[in-house]
Amino acid sequence: MESLDAFRARARAWLAEAEPPEVPLDLDSRFTVLRRWQKTLFEAGWVGIAWSREAGGQGLTHSHQLVFVEELVRARAPQPIGLIGLEVVGPSIDRYGSDRQRTELLPRLLAGDDIWCQGFSEPEAGSDLASLRTRAVADGDDLVVSGQKIWTSWAHVAQWCALLVRTDPSVRKQAGISYLLVDMSSPGVTARPIRQMTGDGEFCEVFLDQVRVPRRNLLGAENEGWAIATHTLGSERAGATLRRRVELEVAVDDAISELRGRPETPRVRAALGRCHVAMRVLDAQTRRTTARLVAGTGPTPLDSVDKLVLNDVEQTVLAEIAGLLGPLRAVLGSHPHGLRSQRWVHEHLYSRAASIYGGSAQIQRTIVAERLLGLPRG
């Protein structure tokens, strides 16, 4: 297998020649540009690095994947558009899918031909995901799905959705859940974007009205979807932890370059110092995460500690940088202390979501308290 150093050198050389695209602010053109970028990356062999070759991947390790993420972000190149497929849903299809599902779905997922979304949360089932109500009823070879999902990122542009549905309402709530792979062009599916605090309409409400899904689109067995959902959420957390560290590292570097050469105040120094400390904490924490990921140890309450550290660092760093915008934060196109206010306002606002999605900070704290510290259940 290619050594990490050789792999890194090859990635760096390729990225230096690749002319990564500028990311447009407008969401529609952003989508088009980033989808084309994913295709470019895929054709050059940089997507699905740790995935098996039969699934269309490169058959390398998570360490190689991490190296590529580092190089990609440091080259100031954008991520491929299909992150939900690549980091969240795809690994579960690879692990639990039938041969047919894997060969039909995964190569298109990797190439960016199919964009995936994750239909888990519902209006009445957020943190308490297992209480979800979207129903699927058997009818011949199909399951007929009705219900509503919410906060489904990229649903309005996705071709496929990983959908959690209740197939047996008569048993304990985790036990009656199935994991369905739903074609978003099926009759009865409607996705409506919701505007986020950042101004983007990235996530959606999804309405499902008598949607017929062939039984062969069940991932795993009927009523055994909860374990797979847990696997999906684990991949989501691991992927985000590794990627966000590099992204934040680059963000702090960019902020330093923008601040350099301007009159220096104690506030600027203190803010940068605090960012640096926070980033070193994240770096130290991530060394352990990487070790666990590479070793392939399953989900543990330690993941919750990682997520809390990441949330904390992300929110601290972006609040410190955005804090330097002062009153000019609200003036579009301004450059207080040399900082590009538009970027930092956007990143700062987005950081507030970090402690909500992927299991809120409160849910993580409860896991740490009960499963790691062994405190009595409340």
């Binding site: 350099r260 110092g273 070193r280 009595p376």
Partner: protein
């Protein structure tokens, strides 16, 4: 021996021979205990990082990190920092005696912080003579030798030499005795080593960060144990989510600090002098913030018991507060780190 084995050995000894009643007695009797210092010297703890050709165990300096974590966890009082660190960094016969006896060396450093420079005083070396005052020196009254820092120079001074005056001061740190050192035209030879001051300060910072990490860890351990046992409203208070989340947060903050210390130690032996200065300042800045906040939560979660001198957590808190600004608190160090990021220069240049 692997680094964590040193930590494990120290932990094992302190658990057996130091914790509990003995610690309580020691704390009530001040911070200087010659028999304890002699005992730790006898165990070889002061020669851990002394090179083998000078009769030490020859462990790398980074191995001291795990030891200071345990000093923090067990709240070991006395001149551990100077007795462990100075003999490891300074090849001199007069320093070597410490390793045998445990009678401390004291570091007379006016550059412990920049923000309180006015209040700490200063020392200058002019034509081979040291003059000046430092208003807070750890264990100067008990020391057999003073290591005086003046600018970039380090000089060894006999505390009984003419021109040296040492005034005892009262201490609010359960682990440290303080004195004022006044130097009036004291003849001295600087040690020829350009990086010694920077290395001494960086390692002091890093080991203090480890000690603070240990203090936070023990406070967390006591807290988890206490709230799992203490009952109110008919159930353990640790089953209340409000407390669970504070405890989880303490754990998260301590883990972050602990991992930062380990990562810094892992890189420290190979780092250049200027890299080490930033790395150590980073660890100390974080330790200053985390240890104090974890100890504060520990007191809160112990209720009234936490507010008494009976409770170990209150002692850990006062200790953490005393160490917080020794070689810089988060406010001072963040500014220093930020300045160096903007200039890419050695942040310890100034003192």
């Amino acid at each position: 021996m692997a680094d964590d084995e040193y930590g494990a050995a120290v932990d094992e000894y302190l658990t057996r021979a130091y914790d509990g009643d003995r610690l309580r007695e020691l704390l009530d009797a001040g911070a200087w205990h010659p028999e304890l210092a002699a005992e730790l010297a006898g165990l070889g703890w002061y020669s851990l990082a002394v090179p083998e050709d000078r009769g030490g165990l020859g462990a790398p300096l980074s191995a001291l990190g795990a030891v200071f974590v345990q000093f923090g966890r067990h709240l070991v009082v006395g001149p551990q920092l100077e007795n462990v660190l100075v003999p490891a960094l300074l090849a001199d016969e007069r320093v070597a005696a410490v390793v045998e006896t445990g009678v401390p060396v004291a570091v007379v450093d006016h550059g412990v912080t920049e923000e309180w420079a006015e209040d700490l005083g200063s020392v200058t070396l002019t034509s081979g003579r040291l003059s000046g005052t430092v208003h807070a020196v750890r264990f100067a009254r008990q020391a057999s030798l003073l290591v005086v820092i003046a600018g970039a120079a380090v000089c060894l001074v006999d505390p009984a030499a003419p021109g040296v005056r040492i005034d005892e001061l009262d201490s609010a740190d359960p682990g440290t005795e303080f004195a004022r050192v006044v130097l009036d035209e004291v003849p001295a030879d600087p040690i020829p080593d350009d990086d010694l001051v920077a290395r001494l300060r960086s390692w002091a910072m890093l080991l203090l960060a480890c000690e603070l990490s240990g203090l936070a860890h023990r406070s967390l351990e006591h807290t988890v144990e206490h709230i799992g046992r203490r009952e109110q409203f008919g159930r353990p208070v640790g089953s209340f989510q409000a407390l669970q989340h504070i405890a989880a947060d303490m754990h998260m903050r301590w883990t972050g600090l602990h991992n930062l210390c380990l990562a810094t130690l892992a890189d420290a032996d190979e780092a250049s002098v200027s890299e080490l200065a930033i790395m150590a300042a980073t660890a100390k800045a974080h330790a200053a913030e985390v240890a104090v906040s974890v100890c504060e939560d520990a007191i809160q979660l112990h209720g009234g018991m936490g507010f008494t001198t009976e409770s170990v957590v209150s002692r850990h808190y006062t200790r953490a507060l005393a160490l917080r600004a020794w070689y810089g608190d988060q406010t001072e160090l963040r500014r220093r780190i930020g300045a160096s990021l903007l200039h890419e220069t050695d942040p310890r240049r100034t003192t």
